[in-house]
Each structure stands twice: as structure tokens, then as C-alpha cells.
Symmetry: D2
Subunit: 348 residues, 4 copies
Amino acid sequence: MSANARSESREAYYAQIADENMAPLWESLHSLVPKSPQPQAVPALWKYAKLRALIMESGRVISAEEAVRRVLVLENPGLPGKSSLTPNLYGGLQLILPGEIAPSHRHTQSALRFVVEGKGAWTAVDGERTTMHPGDFIITPSWTWHDHGNPAVEDGGEPVVWLDGLDIPLLRQLDAGFAENYPEATQPVTRVEGDSFARFGHNMVPVRHTSTNPTSPIFSYPYDRSREALDILHRNGELDEWDGVKLRYVNPATGGWPMPTMATFMQFLPKGFKGRAYRSTDSTVYSVVEGSGTVRIGDRAFEFDPRDVFVVPSWQAVQLEADSDAVLFSYSDRPVLAALNLLREARH
Amino acid sequence: MSANARSESREAYYAQIADENMAPLWESLHSLVPKSPQPQAVPALWKYAKLRALIMESGRVISAEEAVRRVLVLENPGLPGKSSLTPNLYGGLQLILPGEIAPSHRHTQSALRFVVEGKGAWTAVDGERTTMHPGDFIITPSWTWHDHGNPAVEDGGEPVVWLDGLDIPLLRQLDAGFAENYPEATQPVTRVEGDSFARFGHNMVPVRHTSTNPTSPIFSYPYDRSREALDILHRNGELDEWDGVKLRYVNPATGGWPMPTMATFMQFLPKGFKGRAYRSTDSTVYSVVEGSGTVRIGDRAFEFDPRDVFVVPSWQAVQLEADSDAVLFSYSDRPVLAALNLLREARH
Amino acid sequence: MSANARSESREAYYAQIADENMAPLWESLHSLVPKSPQPQAVPALWKYAKLRALIMESGRVISAEEAVRRVLVLENPGLPGKSSLTPNLYGGLQLILPGEIAPSHRHTQSALRFVVEGKGAWTAVDGERTTMHPGDFIITPSWTWHDHGNPAVEDGGEPVVWLDGLDIPLLRQLDAGFAENYPEATQPVTRVEGDSFARFGHNMVPVRHTSTNPTSPIFSYPYDRSREALDILHRNGELDEWDGVKLRYVNPATGGWPMPTMATFMQFLPKGFKGRAYRSTDSTVYSVVEGSGTVRIGDRAFEFDPRDVFVVPSWQAVQLEADSDAVLFSYSDRPVLAALNLLREARH
Amino acid sequence: MSANARSESREAYYAQIADENMAPLWESLHSLVPKSPQPQAVPALWKYAKLRALIMESGRVISAEEAVRRVLVLENPGLPGKSSLTPNLYGGLQLILPGEIAPSHRHTQSALRFVVEGKGAWTAVDGERTTMHPGDFIITPSWTWHDHGNPAVEDGGEPVVWLDGLDIPLLRQLDAGFAENYPEATQPVTRVEGDSFARFGHNMVPVRHTSTNPTSPIFSYPYDRSREALDILHRNGELDEWDGVKLRYVNPATGGWPMPTMATFMQFLPKGFKGRAYRSTDSTVYSVVEGSGTVRIGDRAFEFDPRDVFVVPSWQAVQLEADSDAVLFSYSDRPVLAALNLLREARH
């Protein structure tokens, strides 16, 4: 048979099997089983200085109550229309104005809130409110009631912006999303602020605590304590050639990730740091807390300044440089990769 | 402002933020965070009797060597063009003819092979070959060299068809796929058939065995043993109102899943069994080993016969009825849901 | 002060503090915190050929019913009066005659039964009876009702002897022993023989099985299957210079030890095997199943023959030699040492 | 046969089997397998006010250097000559005077130091020194080099007394003790004070930390932080009827016990608290930090005041009453019982 004839006969066969909802693997094997990851997500950076006016403008476009959550979703240019920064992770900048409430609900999606600007707003989880300050890392765990609020201007309220990090795209992929609204705008406060931190935050836990819930029972990790740890380690001379000084947040009841689907990190880069290149199969979203510098991701380079957000897709080499002492917060889907034995890393 | 004016002003704002790769969460919140899973995958059944001729035809369309893997991919009608049965799982029917070789390679995707028809072909993993019989459940673990072959007709070879189950769509979602070809068509045989089963299959393990690999060190679970276990339990009166008699395959070195991304099960339904409805956030693919009956999935009903394949999407109620003693093999993404604390079940 | 005067003054001080239930650490530090383990247990071997008549004689001394358990306790000569083979482990030879019952009770002590001679007796655990054959390894887990029996002579009963291995000394040390008698001599039989093995013995487990109990749900590990695994591995050329071919029994639901306090092993030594010396902080009791040879333990050497029992204390070098193909069963307190991060091994 | 004759014949048999190092189980079964724990250890309390002079006197009896560790061992009156407070646990009061060094060594025994009186002495572990204050809980993990010292009087040194808690009796039982002396009196200081706490104490851990060592990487848990947690919880209304407010110390890298063999706790009892009775199979040693009250243990009652030490044997009911706000530190062998599935508790 000539190549043409064979090709035609194959096409006829393909049409026939297509009627039975079947397709020939051999035509797509190489793309289905690639030599190495081929992410559609691309490296990108959002410049806070440029976006700030638009974020504040959202406060005039819609109220927090009407929006439920007034968030500007950051969309990876390689994943248009998917409300995704990476295949598994969502990121957005949420604004809450003095006197506003973001009403109470719960969902199986896990969420983190990393405070970018402003202070004094609160997040309530399971009957306890925590006050938010820039650099605080706060979680609203899967299937827990949560709401946010901000005191009125006369009580010291000011606009507060935080980065929302959720596993929305992952749960869509897994068809595992459930959600409910709380009957009231805010859940009742039943515990004093600091209660869960007192129970679990001091390297001690309640004597009869047992739980199979993998999510951290601490829901606020204040910036001053994280910053202090980085400071001490930096002063002690700790400095990794790739990471600078980098810590990961843990669930103090297990030593594991704060949430089962998202890892979170904070790292310090001293002025003049020029990190070596590193890559990994987790995809990472960074939020700049302090300082300026340059990040190289694959063949792209971005200048970063405080409050900027940038994203590193899977298996893209990343390299960090600091023009001044810098602090970076980041979150990734590492727990997913690790749980499925699919985490690979390379340090170059 | 009138509703119209507000709407127009919002659209203008949306266009402005779109330029910055941002989108308003409040317009998509309900679809991003649904009340319950909204799978795009649909219930479906592939009738083996109808497909068999097409499968055999594939042997004339392309050689195993040219195809690398001569597989007809089963595509969920709700996920067209995605080579997926469910969001995370791939399934396909592979044919290997007497005298053929499917050449050796390895990839991070985990694979299972469930033998549907024919016997005497072999699968090689890590230097050991196992002979395949109908009903055998065989794995080719993540990142292990594997190849398949079939003796020549004169050596007793006959056409063999098996169901391939892989986590290809999941790894694409995770951007975690790596692959390599082996330099030769077949890897060298370095261990006698039965070696890994002797090491791990008898409720004993080598005294110095330690491994952090979550995948089972047994790579063949023969049908005669699984069938015997179901028989004994059925004779002992074990009968669950939802499941009949249902066992899950385990990694004998850990008691966990055979592979980190896919669970596998075998169940017996006695003649006349009318199971109650059940649903779960894992998506499941079934292969009928013996017997006939009806499966109701959501609002659909399908008659099933031996070698048929059917798929149950996330959170769709499934109900099994048997017209004769029936045996069903199934695989699902349950380990993924379980690892991420997202497995929900309901028995109605 | 002269040395004498100082010594006298110290003695006076020691007497004074003794009145307050205090003692000077510095006088005993070296023995309390030794450079390496100083076991009081000594190597020893019990020659079955010599003991058999005495064991059978016990059948005339007392009935199984009066004795509750008619066992000759093997006492380590270095631990007189302690009913111990090692600090943590008890061993004894139990005789049950045709027509006898050893009445039902339960206790927190874990027990293993390794059949030495005779067949057809049964052990009942949790409503299921298992028939005992030489070489079978059977467990009666902590806090489960268990009883033993032997058919009458006319029903084929014959005297049966097994080695009992328990953690009695460990539980005495831990003050954690609880016990209860069952109201009847035998518990009701509620499950068919083989039920638990069908559920858990075939590298599958019931789909809804969950348990926090670390003890194996299989309570009989038949000799023919263990022997077959050793055979296959030996034929495949597996031979460790220290161990020969050695497997450990596992709990198939976890991959862990069959019981939380005792590890069990079976190993094959081919004729002419001269093993290298090994030591470990677990203490081990061996029962010879087949074959003859020599075991060197520390500076002692013992000839062994089928059914002999010998004991290796902590940190004593052990070396095995086989004059004919030999099979050894053994049990040790390794899970205790491992759980407490105190297991050390050295291969010389 | 008459009862006498039978008894004589049995004795003759017993003598015969004794020659073979065997004993009749049926004569000792009831004591070997008791209905419930029969601890030899007894409840006891050491009155610090009464002992203080004797402790200080030890400083004149022997130097820290000569003693290696100048400790008055607290001996349970029920376990005379065994240097034990409970079957598994050792306790002693260690004095270190200004200018003294307790030389560096390591051993497989795990140790805790709970500071009772005085401040400013240091404990060094793995190249880092920590300064000791009353109420601090400090560990010197298994097989880590450790030494202690106290500044000279002119540098502010004062006599410091701490309670040593070790698993010495357990390791003797397990024949698992190894020890070594460091070639110098003190190990070199290679890390700044606070380094390990900065790495692991702030609910964060180094990003590349992996360890299979179950012992906490934090070696000092300062009293001010533990006390603060208890305070907050008490103010929030937390009050268990048995325990008051009770926290257990954790290894922040795992959420598990600080050491694999010993659990540690700190609890607050408000003035007027009358706790209900509780018992457990772990044996516990208490050290009073603040306040006075009464403890009932079995049928004994003891008044307690600051710095007193008391011991609760296995399965003895304990009941705590406070005459003033009280804080108690305690340690027990709970991890051993828990690891072996032998922990039982009852709340009455």
C-alpha cells in the first residue's frame, strides 16, 4: 500500500472509531506523554504600583456585600479565561474597605490570605477573629465558615488589600467542590482572639487534641514572628546559594503543610544576593513583602518591588537577585506533587 | 446611577483590568465555587461485543512497533479531544498480536493493565516478566522501564487485549510528565518470573526491605487469587447492600494503594443483586470480568456484559444490578482525593 | 581532708539522703549508663529431643483445663525466676492433647503460637478457628478472646506442641497488663475458617476497612505459603551473606509488624551455608523448623536440630551455619526498639 | 492419687524440668497475666523545702567535675536500689555551682532538664548553648553530645538546680544503652544561642529540612512562652474537669512527642480547682512550678508546694486540688505505651 493510501485508510478507520468515542493513541502519544513538562502557564509579574489605582477603583465599582468577595483575579496570560495563575492555583487581590463585611460562607476549596496593604481588618474562622497586618499569613481552611470585615473609619478602619491564594482550579479539575452560605452575614464570635494560637502556636498542643484533619489549627501566622526567625537565621550566617534564608510554614500539630493542597514559604534575600537557578515540578506564586530585585524565570526577567506578585510555572528555572534586603512570601501546589510522589527538583 | 449605566461602567472597568490580566471574581464566583461538583465528564459505556472487530482491525492499521503502544483511547463524550475518561484518568484498549513487541520506555505516569481477552502475552517491569491472563491486574509503576510482548503463533501466541488505565490527564494538569525511551526494544530479563511476588506477595517481605516508594513492589495480582478471595467471602455470607463483596488491591509493603494516583478494586455481585445507590468524589472506570447486569449512573442506565467498560463521573449516584453472578474490576482516582482530604462519599 | 575521712563523710551523707529516698548518682553512673549493652540474659539452647519426654509427661501431670494453659516456660539461665527468655520476651512449649480445650480468655499481652509438632489442633480468635500444622505461625492479638482445642482421638486428634511467644515480661515492666476470662470454655464460632485470610491475605483488603489497631487482621500464616516463598527466592539465587534468605511476616493492612511488640521472621539456609556475624539491640528467640547446623552466639556455640529453641540476647554476635538445608523461625522485640528509635545493628 | 501424692509428684516433676531451665506456667499464670496492673512503684512526694539543704550540701561532698553529673537520684520507695521513680523513668535533682562544668558526653538515653531553682547556667547540645531559667523545659536528645556549665560568681553565676528526667530504667530493660565521653570537657560552640529555636520554634521549619529522627529539633522550651499559652487559655475559659488547662509539649517538626520515650506536659490549676480522678497506664513524675495544693494518688494524699516532686504509678487514680493558682510540669512514659498500643485511660 502506498503511504497515501495507508494514510487515507487510517483516516477512514479513525472516523469509524471516533463514532464509538475512541481515538488512536499513536497519533497523540508524544503530546500525552511528553519528555518533560510542557506548561501552558507562562511566567508573569503584576506590578502593584501600576495596579493599585485599579484595585482601589474596584471599591467604587461594587460593594463587598454585593460582590461577596471583591477580588481582582490574576489570570495567567497562558491560561486565558481560566481564573488561574497556575493549573492548580488561583490568585487574586481582595479589597475590603472600612465598614465593609465579606459575608460568611464555606467551601471545600482551601484558601490563604496574605496581607499586602493596610491593617486592622479581620478574618473570622470557626468563631475566632484574627486582626490582619501586612505580612501576616492567614488561612481559611477547607469547609470552615469564614468571613472578613473591616472596622468603620471612625474606629480606625482603613482600606486593606490582601492576596487570596486558593486551590480553585485544582478542585475544578478534581470535581470536588462543595459550597454553602452561612445564614447570617457574619458568624458568631465564640472564642477570644489568639485562642487557637495559644492552643497550638507555642510548640505545645492541648493534651487531648486528636484530629485527622490535615489542616493547621493555627489560622494566623503573624509577620513579626516569621520576620524575627528569618532575621536570627540571617544573623547566624545561614545562607543557601539558591534560596537565601527560606522557611516553610508548618501545621504545628503535624509538622506538615498548613493546608493539604498548598505549601507556603517566606524567605529573606540579603542585599546583593544573586541566587543560583532552581526548578521544580510545583508551580509557585510569589508576593514581595520587602525590598527590590530581579527574578529570572525561564528566559524572562522581571524587576520586582514591594507588593508585586509573580508566578513561576512548573519546571521553569527560577533565579532570584536582590538589590536591597528583600523578603518574599510564596505559595505553591507542592503538597499535591509530594503526596502523589511527583515532586522533582533540580538545583543548577 | 441606573442599572444600565452601572453595567456599562462595569464593562469599561472590566476591559481596563483585562489589559492587566485581571478579571472580576464576582462575575464568576458561583461557577468557580459551585454548590456541588459539576463534572463535564458524562456516564458512558463501551460495548465490547460491538468494539471487538474494530480493536482487531487496529492490528491491520498499524504495527505495535510503529505505534509504540497500539491502543484505542476511550474518550469520554463530555471531554472531547482530551483523551480522558475522567478529568484525571485515561483508559484505552490495547491489542498485542502474536510475535509483537511494544517497546520499552518509562514515564512518570503510572499505568495499570487489566487483561480483557487472550493469554500468554507478557509485561516486563524492572527486569522481570509476568505472563498475562484474563482478569489479572498488572501495574507498570511510575518511572520504571516496561515493555510488553507476545509469543509467536507457533509458540502458542494469541491476540491479547487489555484495558490500559493511566493518570495521563492528571499529570498533564500537574505539569509533571517526564518520559524516556529505552535504548533497546526490550529490557534485559534479570529476574525469574514470580520473583517479586515471592518477595512481597505472601504476607511477608524481605527482612531488609526499606523503601519510600509508595508504589507496590508486586506488579502482578493474578485473577485466580482475587477470585478465590471473593468466592470465600461470598460463601461466608459477606454482602454489602451497596457493594456486594468488594475488595481493594493493596501495596503489601504499606497496606496502601497499589499506586499513589489510582485505586483498584474487584467486586462480586451475586445473581439477583440489586445494589443501593452510592456516590463519591472519585471518578471510576469499570471493566466487566464476568456476568451481566445493569448499572444506573445518575439518570442513565446501561446493560453490561463481560469485557464492557463503563465510567462513573464524580458525585454521580451509581447503582449495580446483576442478572447473573458478576465480577467487576474498577479503578479510580480515589488516592488523589484521599491524599488531599477531598474524598466525600454518600450512601443512599 | 584525707581520702578516708572524705569517704567516711560521704558515707554519712549517703545515709542521710537515703532517709529521703535519694541516692548519689555518681556512685552508679557507669552501671546506669553503660558504654554498651550489658545483658543479663545469656545465650542458651533447648534440645527438643531431650525435652520431648518431659513435655509429654506434662500431659500426665495436669490437664489442660486445670492448667488453663499447659506450658513449660523456657527460662533464660541468666534471668532465673523471671519466666523470661529475654528481658521483654517469654517463650514456652505448650502441649494440647486430643480432646482437650484450653479455655477462652483475653489479655493485653500479645501472643504468637509457632507449631512445633502434631497437627489438627485449632486456635480460635474473634469467632474464627484456624487449624494448626507444623510451621504455621499463628497470632492471638492483644485483648482478643482466644481459646485452643484438639479433636478427640477418634476424630483424628493427636498431641500437638507449639512454641508460645509472648511479651509478658515487657508488659510487666510497663505495668500494662489486663486480663479477663470468657464466661464459657470456648467462644462461639461465628466465622468460617479462612474468613480473615480471604479478607486480608490475598494482597487485597475489604474496601471499607479502616482500623487504628496495629495488629494484623490475619491470624494464621500457613507454613506452606511461607516455605514456598523461601523456595522461590532461593531458586532465584537470593542469598544474603548474613541471613541466607530471610523474610519478615507483615501485617498486610499496614506493611508493619504482625503485632506491635514482636517481630517474626522465617529464613532458609542452604546446606553448607556459613553465615557472617551480625548483632542487634533486639533479642531474638529461634525455633528450628527443618535441618541441622551450628549457631555461634557471642563466645558460645550450639548444635541445632529440628524443633530446638535457642535465644540470642541483645548485642551478642550471632552466626548461623547449616549442615543441611535448614529453615528457622524467629521472633524478637524489634518493633519495641524500632518504635523508640533504639534499634542498632552491626554486620561484621 | 491423693492430693498430697499429686502435689509431691508435681514437685518432683518441677525439679526435673527446672534442671532443663523450664518452669510450669500454671503455677505462675495469675501473677504473670494479672487482671490489672500491679505496680511495685508506689506514690511518693519529695518535699523540696526539706531537701534543699541536702542538695546544696552535695556541692560540698563532691565537685561537678568529679561527679560528672552531681545528681541526687530520687528513688521510688517501692523500687529500692533501682535508681528509678517508675519502672521506665529516672528522676534526679542536679546541682551545678557557679564556675562549674558538667563534662560533655552522649548516650542513647534521652534526657530532659526541668529548671527548678536558679538561673544563668547553660546546657549545650550539638554546638549550641541555651541559658536556663526556672520553668524552662530543656532536652538533651539521645546520642547527642551535651554538657552543662555555670558562669563564675563574678559573672553572675548562682547555684542552679534542675530536675533530670531520663529513660535510664527503660533502656536497661531494653539492653539498649550506649555511651561515650567527649574528648574535651565542653564541646565547641558552633551556633548562636537561639539558632534551633529560630529554625523550628516559630511554626516554620527550614525549607529543605528532612529528618527521620523523632526527637525535637528545638531543645529549649522557655517557661515564659508556655506560661503565656496557659494564661491565655485560662482567661478564655478553658477548664477541663480533670486536668485544668493542660498542654503537652510537641516536636514542632512532627507534632509528636519531644522525645520518643518521654512525654512532657504543663498544666495550670486555678485557685480552688478540685479535679476529678483519672488514671492511665503511663507513670508520671510531676514537678511543681507555682502554687500549692493537694494531690491524691490511689489512697494516699500529699500536700504540694513549689519545687516539690511527686510520682504517680501506672493505673493509680490521681486527683489534683489547688489552694492557689498552680502550675505543674510533668513527664511520663506515655510515648512508649502509645507506640505499643498499650495506653489505657479512665476518667472517673
